[in-house]
Symmetry: D2
Subunit: 308 residues, 4 copies
């Protein structure tokens, strides 16, 4: 029943939603996946995000998955994505998942927002809807949402809304944004937790800039766990060695739209989920892409052996 | 239990959703509103559209309103907007409202669609989700959705998906699109019903180009009913006289975002709904705008008297 | 050699660029057009705007037209649109036209701007490029530019950049924006001139909210001149009578993309320009649209006679 | 005086535009840069692209740079970017640079294009403007232009416009697009040259899918030259070894907006240009980013030594 806070750290993995080949939710794989993520050392889970195929789930299914993941996580923190075009749906799902024991919720801005005032106003409305006692993550992902949030606007939200305790940072470029946010804290503003997305492809630099960890779904959570630990221990060179080994694959998995197919393919291959199936509309991985991923996996194994 | 078809004609009014001042659904006003719309001569209703504040309703509320409106409509056709970011929600709501007796559903394209193939593919997925037996309306509203659908793409959808029986036409400019679609029918393509939106501000020209009527929510449905009837009877000049009288107000109500506040204010003033309240986030009508609308209403009354 | 200032008032007509049927610039029509605009009572001209087909002109042509219009305007103020993707082109054209005697320049924001800071930063760069002594107009036209500028951001620009003396206001809805800007002036901020665009379709309300006039290109400048004068004299009802008579046509001319074809067609019909030709890519007015405009012109004549 | 054709192959480097610290064009660096690029084995140059700060140059400067680069290139092919909001500017610059001996021009679609028909129509207008005898490159870069061009639309352009001889491929994801285009050629469509952008971060896979080379500006052209040669010789594993060594830096240089600062910093450090200065508005590389790049350069050197 732990809740996220401004001091949360480590790797919160963005979980996929496992389906059977016929499109039904694969509950056996859900349990296996939760175990896998924690076995690999992640600190928490984030479910029902963009990469969790949330919009393809009925409300009942969303609740059912949340319930199962929470049960299997046995008290470790689980954040639930509740982004929706309307506040009613956000409020409804938030209430349901917080009652079930979620650690907090994550909200991305709707694509229609443009000015700073509109963005700040939106998050005020979100908090008025979900309640001031629910800790929430602001997802800052302009590539997908189309909404650009300046450091000043994030600062205004931090100051106005104490329940905003975490930033899912995936602006691109975004390293200076981390530095700017941390500098404001050094100058007196309250701290927030910053976990980084974007498939992890800037993780060493993000950690060096002051991030608290990663929140993304790369199919090798152990890479992120190791990089975060090594960076945290000041061993940035070793962290980058590990990172570099995975980068060719991480880059491949980060392709917009296609990335989830890569991720699910690798997770199936690793025995985590039974099927790489996505619900409609899901981009299937073609024969050539499968061969490309297989080749990268072989090279990864070889390179890790060299580094061992 | 009537269903829309490619031969549907007349005025399908876009209904507002009446709320009490405290944000609760105002069920007494729902009944009064349905009666008002049909008393004014409209042929059908469309509920849960963008201007019906659909994203502000919980799923339960959406179903409850649909049930009430269908009961009060007593067999006259009611279309339900089911647009959503994910196919699961579209499928869920469609099944529920069709089971309750809706005449069809309306689906706007999600803003991420760009190429012709993506748009056609999306509607294929929609039909695979809701079933081929559910007649649906394609809402073509680039100003709000950001998705531009060429006449050729609409044609491809018409040819691929027989259950697409109606176009809610609100491209702007859009008159040539109507002509082009009708020309393709004259050349042998199957007919679809074309009802026009955009607050009705091009209705006389749209009817002359071959539209079958209006589907929009202007607070004076009698204008649209009269214009459609007069245009249908070939009396385009009288139709335009009526239209011109309402145009200063219609123009004012068509302001994006603000329009719903104008519409609800007028409907309250006309005694149709008890409160102009919108759920959060709703743009309130300021004092100056209220005075502007009041002035336009007085002028409208005077002008209609002159025309009587 | 007059220059615009924060006290500029009246109608600044957005001029078309007259072409011959073969696409060459029609210099005879340029003179006739300038005379026509001033004969109808406008106070100034704005050339090389979006509706002046500026991007279809070579740099030499832009300079040549500016020279000719300035000569023919004989000292009355001419604003030149200088919007471009790069600051170099803005600086180059501004220097050229100010040297020739332009009254000021107009700059719309490039579509890539999103956050308040980006917008303010852009206009800082513009002023650094064109020089602090060149009075400029900020064109606020989100429908076309895609950039939303909040009243707060406009205020920040007003405070930072004294050479921003005029707002071409065409946000939609935009009435409250005028009120908000004027309220800030009442509270002590320096005054700017606000001239309204959007084809003039909100002109009576805009004047009542505190606008200083119109800057748009409706093919009947006399409507805007009369509305501004009557509104300025406090006779808002007569202003609105005139306005309402023209509204069916103004609405038709305001169709995005198509509007310029309507405008040029009417100007040709009124004998102002010799040809309605646009340079490629220009949307031609089809036969049906021509008939629709002709019909609206006849009705306008009749209605004006009734009002005389 | 060579011209590009559908059979062009190899690395066409996207050249930067060297400025002095005071913003003047650094002509000495221009020559040194051209020599550097060809010394490293590139086959041609592309100048005045987005990463060449083209919109920051006056027309005269653009011509002057083209002249100098062409002279120094001594007959090797130089493509010139001519994208502009209006066809007039495209026509003007194209005529000028082709007269000077450019190998062809490159045109990206303006951001307002949406439907397939609009895109195809735009390129028809481009060819009508620049002439059918000028070979041109279609730049397909949705991340920056906002325009998505489906393989089918590219195919329609290939069939309609014989002077479209080359695709600058930087869709993301884009591997399947290459395969689809090559498959259409295998089925009989005429061949085009496909050179890949996106900073080179998918180059090994792109070559394996059938690309003819790279057209991007990574500060180590020798990486791309080697990868293309090794891939061409069938030695994909060695190609990928080289590629992987550079990937951490290539990823860093590919950050939108910031990338050019990284590239110019590295080119200055390599002694190619005298100053990393960009013209306004240019994102400067902060102290932390400089340290990050320096660290990546050291690691690169070490890794290349391991691979030697």
């Amino acid at each position: 029943m732990s809740r996220i806070s401004a001091d949360s750290k480590g790797v919160y993995i963005i979980a996929v939603t496992p389906f059977k080949d016929d499109g039904a939710i694969d509950t056996a794989s859900v349990d296996r996946m939760v175990d896998f993520y924690f076995d690999k050392g992640t600190d928490g889970l984030t479910i029902l995000g963009i990469m969790g195929e949330a919009p393809k789930l009925t409300q009942q299914e969303s609740i059912a998955i949340t319930k199962q993941v929470l049960a299997r996580s046995a008290g470790r923190p689980v954040i639930v994505g509740v982004s929706a075009p309307g506040l009613a749906a956000i409020g409804e799902l938030t209430k349901a998942v917080m009652d079930l024991g979620a650690a907090g919720v994550m909200v991305a801005p709707p694509g229609s927002l443009r000015t700073d005032d509109q963005i700040i106003g939106y998050y005020r409305n979100v908090v008025a809807t979900i309640g001031e006692d629910v800790p929430f993550v602001l997802q800052d992902f302009p590539l997908v949402t189309g909404v650009q949030i300046s450091p000043r606007t994030i600062g205004a939200i931090i100051e106005a809304l104490p329940s905003m305790v975490m930033l899912k940072h995936e602006d691109w470029p975004g390293l200076d944004k981390i530095s700017e946010l941390r500098a404001a804290e050094a100058a007196g503003r309250r701290r927030i937790s910053i976990l980084c997305g974007n498939g992890g492809v800037f993780l060493p630099e993000e950690m060096a800039r002051g991030a608290d960890g990663a929140m993304t779904g790369f199919a090798f959570p152990e890479m992120m766990v190791n990089v975060c630990k090594l960076a945290g221990a000041g061993n940035l060179d070793r962290a980058q060695d590990i990172f570099d080994a995975y980068l060719p694959l991480a880059r491949f998995e980060q392709q917009p739209g296609l990335g989830l197919a890569v991720r699910k393919y690798v997770l199936e291959k690793r025995g985590v989920i039974s099927s790489q199936a996505q619900r409609r509309p899901g981009a299937a991985l073609g024969t050539k892409a499968v061969a490309e991923v297989d080749r990268l996996l072989l090279r990864l194994e070889k390179r890790l052996a060299e580094l061992a």
